[in-house]
């Protein structure tokens, strides 16, 4: 007997509480990317691996967050399996983690239409304004050199290994606080002549509209 299936049918938010009393290994295989292994014991994640690498707590959060919205990912739970070796043991309480992840997801969904587009380039306006919020402050430190010169959510998500929507959400918050702003390009020069010419032609064509303003 085994607990297995696909996250597109059984969401992580249903699966993890189900397993929280168990001891064993949860394998998550997204359609693309490496397998994620979570070792559970006593309602905690005690070790997490992606490929060969052991993951620190914030990376576990990022990985699970990326799996929240029912992507195609096979899962299988192997009862009783323990990590043979774990560099970097964890003590992440599943309940807290789930609460945090679902809150974050709700936040993102509540502003979904307002998230900056993935390729919009942002740069610092006033980095000091992120100091009040520990999460934003940490993110700003991680992304400091990119935000100094200008970067997009897509670029940062790739560089930092974070889910794109998470970065868009952080950008959304940072922009609202005035920490970052879009980095404007200067308009393409040398089109004054054609603009004037077209304007003259338009004014001859459209006569009835009053041109005074």
């Amino acid at each position: 007997m085994a607990i297995f299936g696909n996250l597109k049918d059984i969401s992580l938010l249903d699966l993890l509480p189900l397993l929280s009393g168990q001891q064993g290994k949860l394998s998550l295989r997204p359609k693309r990317g490496a397998e994620l292994l979570l070792f559970l014991n006593n309602s905690r994640i005690t070790c997490a691996k992606k490929g060969e690498a052991a993951l620190p707590p914030h990376r576990v959060e990022e990985e699970l967050f990326g799996l929240l919205d029912r992507p195609e990912a096979e899962f299988a739970f192997h009862i009783g399996d323990r990590p043979d070796r774990c560099l970097g043991r964890l003590d992440l309480r599943l309940e807290e983690l789930l609460l945090k992840l679902s809150t974050l997801r709700d936040e993102i969904q509540s502003v979904a239409g307002a998230l900056p587009l993935p390729d919009t380039v942002f740069a610092f306006a006033d980095p000091g304004r992120a100091e009040g919020d520990p999460e934003l402050r940490d993110f700003v430190r991680l992304a400091w050199s990119q935000l100094e010169r200008g970067t997009s959510a897509r670029e940062l998500a790739g560089l930092l290994g974070m889910p794109l929507d998470r970065v868009r959400y952080l950008f959304y918050k940072l922009r609202a606080l005035g920490v970052i702003q879009p980095l404007a390009q200067s308009p393409r020069p040398g089109r004054r002549g054609i603009a004037r010419q077209l304007l003259g032609l338009l004014k001859r064509r459209f006569r009835t509209w009053s041109w005074s303003h």
């Binding site: 502003v111 919009t120 308009p187 089109r191 004054r192 009835t208």
Partner: protein
């Protein structure tokens, strides 16, 4: 002569299709030979609003594109050499303003194409004024123009403002 391109973008219902239909002298179609001449073959399979306006020797192509992230890829092709971007916003739908601002941020940070904001639906009972829309979008008030895209003489207003700002 190189084809001139004007991009019309904005949230759903802002009046993009209406504007292109009003301004255009050709049938508005999503795929045709003129379109592929102006934006390249690859994109012509994507349903875009397209119309043209002939001004003496110049043929102005007008392309409408939805402002959504899954169309990011089209911008690279559309924006290349484009004369300008008209971002349309409904004055009576403040809930679409954040999405409009995201489109404008994208245009400003990813392209060198100048923009004008066309504010539509000003005939509705409760509306944001064009300068208030500009304030929200973070663009100077002279870049926002109120107009009714259903009317031929009105429809040309944002284009005129764009050309005035470019020619100044």
């Amino acid at each position: 002569m190189e084809p001139l391109k004007l991009i019309v973008t904005g949230p759903v219902g802002a009046g993009k299709s209406t504007l292109i239909r009003t301004l255009s002298e050709t049938e508005v179609v999503d795929t045709d030979a003129l379109a592929s001449e102006a934006i390249g073959k690859a994109t012509t399979t994507v349903a875009l609003d397209h119309g043209t306006l002939r001004l003496d020797g110049h043929l102005l192509h007008i392309f409408g594109t939805p402002g959504q992230d899954r169309f990011d890829f089209m911008w690279e092709i559309l924006a290349e050499g484009a004369l300008g971007v008209l971002l349309l916003v409904r004055a009576d739908r403040p809930e679409t303003l954040p999405a409009a601002r995201n489109i404008l941020d994208f245009v400003v940070s990813r392209t060198q194409v100048p923009h004008v904001v066309g504010v539509t639906h000003l005939d509705r009972p409760q509306v944001w004024r064009p300068e208030e829309v500009a304030l929200f979008l973070g663009t100077p008030p002279e870049r926002a123009v109120g107009f009714d895209p259903r009317d031929r003489e009105e429809a040309v207003k944002p284009l005129v403002r764009l050309l005035e700002l470019m020619g100044a």
